[in-house]
């Protein structure tokens, strides 16, 4: 039987992630494009493409963006889908990051002076268990999810900004604990190396050949992140269009009415926090692997805010919006650097430190300014822009 494309024959198709071949086609195109971007200079077969691919620091940012996307999806689950504004995302990211670093990292010892003898003795500075990624990554997610489980009952009592503040308090408590537990975290201003991303012996933090293609460590991490993102993205999407997702949306929009539809508020708020924190934990554990270094102070209010900005600028309550937002915010400093280099900003001095405004200052101004301008011009976020573009092109090239 030949069906008219686009005709929905089954209710299942109606709620499918891709509702048409057009959508499927474009997703495939996007995925291939991203893979090509990541492969970079290693794909000599298509010489012309090399110029468009990511290398060097761009690739580093891309890796971060992919991992950040996972975290942003997590935040969108609790804040976008369930409407529980959380400023505590940095805390969950931190829990994941340090769990990953402890389980997947290496023990560090150091010679220190024993004052009584004047001799050097060895002391453990950092604990580490050298476990495989297959263990430490899920463990990082679970550790964060467990924290989410603990926080959820508190969140249940609070609304709006007051909830936001409790979660903000979490960030400060987290920072304090991270800062104090120096054998676990290295301490503030010092930090420790991240967990070693090694999956069954395949090292993602070292360059090497995979399936016959030589990949740099950042390329490897990029593809690892991409694979995880696709999986976790679909999981989130499934969740959103399930009874759970609808229940979360109901709680967000009208919690009292939701309860009278038979939705237990406490349980669902807990689910939202747990799932969201799991994503945060996974993202946190991976976020700094490309740089290789973690610092307790990184998991601060600013990081939480960056993630809120990702969700907001990307698009609230959408998975693809989360990704767009994460990519945008992660690339923004770089974009700003590039913008700042233009002649129009000629008043920026060539010297890194002198002049009316330095490059570093200009970067910050543009960063803040772009967020302001963006929110004024496009409150619906990148996802909103995307929908508008999509509606414009609708089904091309399958339009008929």
């Amino acid at each position: 039987m030949r069906l008219r494309p686009g005709l929905i024959a089954d209710y299942r198709d109606d709620v499918a992630v891709f509702r048409s071949n057009v959508a499927r086609f474009w997703f495939a195109v996007l995925l291939v494009a991203v893979v090509v971007l990541g492969l970079g200079g290693t794909l000599p077969l298509i010489p012309g493409l090399v110029d468009f691919t990511l290398t060097g620091d761009l690739l580093l940012i891309a890796v971060t963006a992919v991992f950040a996307s996972i975290g942003a999806i997590g935040l969108n689950i609790v804040t976008g889908f369930a409407g529980q504004v959380s400023l505590g995302h940095a805390f969950f990211l931190g829990v994941g990051a340090f769990t990953g670093a402890i389980l997947g990292g290496t023990e560090v010892t150091r010679q220190v002076v024993d004052l009584s003898t004047g001799q050097f003795v060895e002391r453990t500075m950092l604990v580490g268990y050298d476990l495989d990624l297959i263990i430490w990554l899920p463990a990082a997610g679970l550790a964060a999810a467990f924290m989410g489980l603990i926080v959820a009952p508190v969140a249940f009592r609070l609304r709006g900004l007051y909830l936001a503040f409790v979660t903000l308090g979490l960030v400060f408590i987290g920072e304090h604990v991270f800062r104090e537990a120096t054998v676990l975290t290295g301490g503030v201003g010092v930090g420790r190396p991240t967990g070693v991303p090694s999956l069954f012996g395949l090292r993602f933090d070292e360059a090497g050949e995979v399936f016959g293609i030589f990949l740099s460590k950042h390329q490897k991490l990029f593809f690892l992140g991409l694979a995880l993102l696709v999986v976790l993205g679909f999981v989130a999407k499934n969740l959103a269009r399930s009874r759970v997702g609808r229940a979360l949306a109901a709680i967000r929009d009208r919690d009292i009415a939701a309860e009278m539809m038979g939705i237990p508020l406490a349980r669902y708020k807990m689910i939202a926090f747990v799932v969201s924190s799991f994503y945060a934990g996974v993202a946190g554990a991976l976020l700094y692997t490309a740089v290789g270094q973690l610092e307790p102070g990184s998991f601060n209010l600013l990081l939480s805010i960056e993630f809120i900005a990702m969700v907001l600028i990307g698009g609230v309550a959408t998975v693809s919006g989360s990704i767009m937002g994460a990519v945008f915010i992660t690339f923004l400093p770089r974009l700003v650097k590039w913008l700042a280099g233009f002649w129009m900003f000629g008043f920026i001095s060539d010297s890194p430190t002198g002049g009316l405004v330095t490059l570093a200052q200009m970067e910050l101004i543009l960063f803040g300014g772009l967020i302001v301008v963006f929110l004024i011009l496009e409150p619906l976020g990148l996802y909103g822009i995307w929908i508008r573009i999509r509606n414009y092109w609708k089904a091309w090239p399958f339009s008929y």
């Binding site: 220190v112 930090g191 270094q293």
Partner: protein, 442 residues
């Protein structure tokens, strides 16, 4: 051009060979034999002084806007820009100019993660780092540096840089490590106070800066018979959300004679101010090099009080000192409209090893990073134009580590706010200390 060369004779002196070939290199392309890979271009730098010279790019990772050492990071970085501008103005190094561009200057806010990220960002853009500020920060970036054979001059005096197993031979430190600076400081202060024992407190940043200096102070205190500190306070940088709110009451309660402050200038000023405001005046502060900043002398309320209590150590002499290097530095600062500061001296001084390294690498005909790194590990005869004694990186730490320190007093009448109390000296404790591992106290 010639006139300029005249006014910067001191710099030209270090690059006599370059000056001699200037005329020739301006018309000829750089030696084709010189091999290079990343961070080096045979084409001239943008806005090059010497159109015919090739270009060597150096990167900087510093604290420029809102970290605890931003007051130091800015003049430090400026000094390094100026250093190379002077070298280039004098014709460059044997056909090569050296630049630190705005693009290659990264503000890492004294954050190890951002420093590491900065290293990755710069990894395929520069030959090496003219500056990497902060000890834990530089340690965080080290894996990336090792991976890319990237040599760096640190803006830190960590004792670990003397060890090849710590720094992979890539870090070109200058001056005495914190550990020795603290030993000398304690010993010097002990002598200044007439050899009578005193009680002391330690206020230190977390990490190797605080740890290293603190270790030196403790080792010295043990040997001087001063005993343990009456208060030992880990001070989190104010810009990291730390506060002196606990430090001040703790010091008020402990009433130490001497407070060893291994912090940034802000924390030191706030602690001192807090103590004054609570009526505590009979104490002395022993500060490390980074604890002082020239801007403190502009505070008309605080400075008179500080003059009475503040003694600071430094690995080299201050702004107004009369050496060839200091004179060259002052001339450069004047050329570029910079104000005097201790940090400027430091930034300037740290570039001498790079000058020596580049000169030798160019002479060897190989500017690839691996070769540059190999030379750096055992570089010898580094001439500091009198700011420091000539030094080497070859041999064991005990062979080449520098142990001399200056002791200074806060003084509003000097250019950088510090007045030397001593010449360079090596105390007996520092002289005898066996540097078998990086200093750190358990």
């Amino acid at each position: 051009g010639d006139d300029d060369a005249e006014t910067t004779t001191t710099t030209a002196a270090t690059t006599t060979t370059v000056a001699g070939t200037t005329a020739a290199t301006t018309t000829l392309p750089p030696e084709p034999e010189v091999a290079f890979d990343l961070g080096v271009t045979p084409s001239p730098c943008a806005d090059a002084v010497n159109e015919g010279n090739g270009c060597i790019y150096l990167g900087v990772i510093s604290d420029l806007t809102d970290g605890p050492f931003a007051p130091l990071g800015v003049p430090l970085t400026q000094a390094q820009e100026d250093f190379w501008a002077e070298v280039n103005a004098a014709g460059g190094i044997d056909g090569w100019d050296v630049v630190i561009t705005a693009e290659n200057t990264i503000d890492a806010h004294y954050d190890p993660t951002q420093t590491a990220e900065g290293a990755v960002t710069l990894a395929d853009r520069v030959l090496g780092l003219a500056q990497s500020l902060g000890t834990p920060q530089t340690l965080g970036a080290l894996p990336t540096l090792v991976e890319g054979d990237i040599v760096a001059a640190p803006a830190t005096w960590f004792s670990g840089w003397a060890f090849t197993d710590v720094d992979a031979g890539l870090i070109m430190e200058s001056g005495a490590p914190y550990c020795f600076e603290a030993m000398n400081g304690m010993e010097g202060l002990y002598d200044l106070r007439g050899g009578t024992p005193f009680t002391w407190a330690l206020v230190a940043f977390p990490g190797d800066y605080g740890g290293d200096y603190g270790a030196g102070a403790k080792i010295a205190a043990a040997q001087l018979g001063l005993g343990d500190p009456v208060a030992e306070i880990l001070q989190i940088p104010v810009s990291f959300g730390g506060s002196v709110a606990e430090t001040v009451p703790a010091l008020l309660a402990a009433q130490p004679d001497v407070i060893v402050m291994v912090t940034g200038p802000t924390e030191m000023a706030q602690v001192a101010g807090g103590l004054f405001q609570n009526g505590m005046t009979s104490f002395q502060i022993l500060g490390a090099g980074p604890t002082w900043n020239v801007a403190l002398k502009g505070n008309a309320d605080l400075m008179p009080l500080l003059e009475a209590v503040y003694v600071g150590t430094s690995p080299w002499a201050g702004w107004d000192t009369d050496t060839e290097g200091h004179a060259a530095m002052r001339a450069a600062a004047e050329n570029h409209g910079r104000t005097p500061s201790g940090s400027y001296v430091a930034g300037w001084t740290w570039q001498y090893p790079w000058l020596a390294l580049l000169t030798e690498a160019i002479a060897s005909g190989d500017l690839t990073r691996s070769n540059v790194a190999a030379i750096a590990a055992t570089l010898e005869d580094i001439d500091y134009q009198g700011i420091l004694p000539t030094r080497t990186y070859a041999g064991t730490p005990n062979d080449h580590v520098v142990r001399s320190t200056f002791l200074n007093q806060a003084d509003a009448d000097t250019s950088d706010g510090l007045n030397p109390l001593t010449d360079a000296f090596v105390g007996t404790i520092a002289a005898d200390f066996d540097l078998a591992a990086p200093c750190f106290v358990g």
